[in-house]
Symmetry: C2
Subunit: 202 residues, 2 copies
DNA sequence: GACAATATACCGACTGGTTGGTACGTATAT
DNA sequence: ATATACGTACCAACCAGTCGGTATATTGTC
């Protein structure tokens, strides 16, 4: 998708401001000010504020999709190693970042809009489940190799990884400390290890 | 704290509407309409909308505090059984409820307000960590009895339980299905079992 | 126990600023 | 000559919050 400078600047502003203040508290004027464009430009590219949010979710998926596609966890041969490395990678994504920079646009937006803005909810759902599916693939391979008889499903565990990460962000926001998100990711890592360690014993 | 009818009605309206639409999207007028009182009553009892949010967080802690204090998980003798029963109890709290009814006011509010409304953030933090502390006590006892040498801390695991629950709510909102929250709680249950099962082996 | 004084609980019209969105103009590229 | 990409001025609706008012309890005084 080829994008004009004003559109990209508006999307980047949305990523930044919405993650900081949420969707409802973000005004179109503030978005325009931050992007350095006018309202005319805004409504030329997006037919409404809701439309911008949906586009921002898509843009977020593009940006983070590339980040994960080129991340080092793919380099391991054993899918279980890949999974553990993915979890560690999620932890390193917190390093040196402020809370708004570390948190997820989709989780932030869907919390506010799930009842009132179906279009945004669907866009956020697509992004989260889409990413979870890439992790589910890794888990499927790990399960096939190391725990073929395990009772849990790869899809469910993949979604659980996302729940832990999102929940960690909420605690981090509440306590104003990303260390809480890191701690929860560490528990997640231990869970996965125990899960496969346990399966190997049988 | 003795409360006048209008105040209680406003707080109950806040619990309902904020969990549905979020803090920013909830207007004072809507709150008054739902509570069946006027704006005069609102600003008589609360000096601002932010003040209402802080009071609502306190009210939430009161209501849920009683719920957990009288919950059946306390009846077990073994603290590990209590912990597992607590997790199961959290799962049953999802039964027959709509998403707004099942979700946590504090997690919803802090997501939107952590940067812009410090007073609300602090109130949410207090509620979450306060509840986590009651769980940490149970975990401390369980650890002392069953896993005294374990590497993880009771406080950290207690916070992790809250992160999983909060994260489950986000996935549930995204997919419009509370089953996702239930699934994550089930993974949490398994994690705790593995954690203690593993410790006993050593 | 009568009466005034004061405080509390609530009402509803109003205000000034902000909101998302529109109408219309212009510059540039094809 | 037409479409795209903006800019500027503007608007009605809505927002949180105010203000002067009333009704009812509570308290102090004799």
């Amino acid at each position: 998708m080829q994008m004009t400078p004003a559109k990209i600047k508006l999307l980047n502003a949305a990523l930044k401001i919405v993650r900081t203040n949420g969707y409802e508290a973000t005004s179109v004027d503030e978005l325009c000010r931050d992007a350095g464009v006018t309202k005319g430009a805004f409504f030329h590219h997006f037919k409404s504020k809701e439309d911008l949010a949906v586009a921002a979710a898509g843009y977020w998926n593009e940006v983070t999709g590339k980040l994960f596609a080129t991340a080092p966890y793919h380099d391991y041969e054993d899918p279980l190693d890949q999974l553990i490395a993915y979890i560690d990678f999620r932890a390193t994504l917190l390093d040196g970042r402020s809370i708004p920079e570390a948190t997820c646009l989709l989780g932030t937006m869907v919390q506010e809009t799930y009842e009132s803005n179906p279009a945004i909810r669907v866009a956020c759902c697509g992004g989260i489940t889409g990413h979870a599916e890439t992790i589910a693939e890794i888990i499927r391979a790990a399960k096939a190799r190391h725990a073929p008889k395990a009772a849990w499903s790869a899809e469910s565990l993949a979604l659980h990884t996302q729940a832990v990460i999102q929940g960690g962000f909420i605690l981090a926001k509440a306590k104003d400390d990303l260390a809480l998100a890191r701690d929860s990711i560490l528990h997640l890592r231990r869970y996965v290890e125990l899960l496969f360690h346990h399966a190997k014993e049988d």
